[in-house]
Symmetry: C2
Subunit: 315 residues, 2 copies
């Protein structure tokens, strides 16, 4: 399987990402073996509210990257909600354009499930695409939950995609959007309300305080369904990438990403230890909290006191 | 402040919940002092997708509970997303109906922020309302992120609110909705498409497997803006509550809630210890992961090895 992953074979990549999702015990050994093959991919986050046209934009971006001859990975993070679960899966069908191209590796990942959730699994899936020789890995997330936003924000570059008709949302969401976007795109730019949205975003960027040498996020327009504006988006991303490399910001961002990744795995291992070794103690303490004879903070402290230091198992 | 909380004074309750949001060091002592005053409130989760009419429904429910003479708490959990942050805050204004009633304690809580996030802060906020003598605490969440859904699912009873016009979403979301709803409500029942949605939900409930003595979630209709159907909703919740008390399910659910609460606080304390004591080690290990000289699993294991067992500090 490792040889298959290194060669970028879709089936091997898919199998390894399934192991990542399941939190397999084999992962530490596998990731150790793949470590020398990683660190080369450029991770591009694409996020935005439902309806902004993320999947269409990602499809168009992948098409443009394929024209450069790159191998491309796509990690589509499905929303966690029982209410929105269906919509994105429907959109995924549009990616069929690339379904027969072996140089495009596509994977959906749900945020529910194994220990540590998305925060642990997504970075490992990115490593797999990286080791598989993808020059660019696009992470598509629906911006409806914090965990998805966190994933996007951990990318080398984050494109925040908006569309006209979001109403007052942008104004209210100012701070959050400014924090994560390296490039802003107003998609569906042929619709009413696109220009006011562009102006609003530009003034938001202009008003935000940043050092003079810092990157100033551009606000672009696209009609992704027709491919309009996509070359300009790629150009902006190339400029951003060059800026980040020259300024050292890319290295700093990657260091931060590695820090969160290691911390997330360590915490998942601690949680695992707590669940395996502290289960009976937890039951008793929960009973005491439930009948009011103790409070949850005292119970948590007691649980930690009873937890044996134990061998370090990574989840 | 503790006396003020016990007396249900809004300002004292608000101040203590602020301490909860900030993750104050004083919380363990405060929660220990309040523990004997807790365990009495009935926690009612209300969740559903944006646009289902949650705030209107909660306002109507609060009005009906106030007519019974109950003190009522409302914890409105704001979505985590930078994209949807604004919409809910707008809705909150409608709660103004109860703003001058000192027997209605209302608090919004964002999911971003302190260590452990919503999973740690929300249960403590519920404890504060409980100690303040609220007979019912309504937790309103937008069903767009897993953490919000988790909070709703941890309630004594969960109302899943839907409205016509959601399209294929319900069908796709079947499993997730069935899992968390004790009572289903189709709001805006005077609109087109309400009856088909009711039928769809009823057949979903009928088809789901459950033991014969288990609670069978009813599917009700409301027009919350006019108060229509709200007495019937309260009746259904009373029946559910009686069923849960008689079957022992309420006690089991509360035990599970206490278990998650204690585990969450213990994990937050471990994370805190990791951050305080392992910061320098983490920097070095993140650097090694970043340049590919080690992998994140090995780095996490090493980080845990270096972590001194240390005194148990609860966050």
């Amino acid at each position: 399987m490792l040889a298959g992953v290194r060669a970028g074979r879709p089936r091997a990549v898919g199998r390894l990402i399934s192991l990542v999702e399941d939190g397999s015990d084999a992962l530490p050994a596998i990731m150790a073996a793949l470590a020398p093959d990683t660190g080369r991919a450029f991770v591009l986050g694409v996020t935005g509210p439902p309806g902004a046209g993320k999947s269409t934009t990602v499809t168009a971006l992948v098409r443009a990257l394929r024209e450069r001859g790159e191998r491309v990975g796509v990690l589509a993070v499905d929303p966690t909600s029982p209410f929105t679960g269906g919509a994105l899966l429907g959109d995924r069908v549009r990616m069929q354009e690339h379904a027969l191209d072996d140089e495009v590796l596509i994977r959906s990942m749900a945020t529910r499930g194994h220990l540590g959730g998305l925060a642990v699994a997504a970075p490992q899936a990115l490593r797999v695409f990286d080791a598989a020789g993808c020059a660019t890995v696009v992470v598509e997330t629906v911006g409806v939950g914090q965990s998805e936003v966190d994933v996007a924000a951990a990318a080398d570059a984050t494109v925040v995609l908006l569309a006209p008709g979001m109403g007052d949302g942008v104004q209210a969401a100012k701070a959050g959007i400014l924090e994560i976007g390296d490039v802003f795109v107003v998609n569906k730019a042929d619709r009413d309300g696109a220009q006011p949205l562009v102006r609003e975003l530009r003034s938001m960027v202009a008003l935000s305080e940043r050092p003079p040498e810092a990157w100033k996020p551009p606000v672009l327009t696209t009609v992704a369904s027709e491919g309009t504006g996509v070359p300009e988006l790629l150009d902006a991303l190339d400029r951003f990438r060059a800026h980040q490399a020259a300024s050292g910001d890319q290295a700093r961002r990657r260091l931060g990403r590695a820090r969160r990744e290691v911390e997330g795995l360590a915490l998942a291992a601690l949680r695992d230890r707590l669940r395996r070794q502290g289960s009976a103690a937890l039951d008793a303490l929960a009973g005491a909290v439930s009948d009011g004879s103790t409070d949850p903070y005292a119970a948590a402290a007691e649980l930690l006191r009873r937890l044996p230091p134990g061998p370090t198992t990574t989840a």
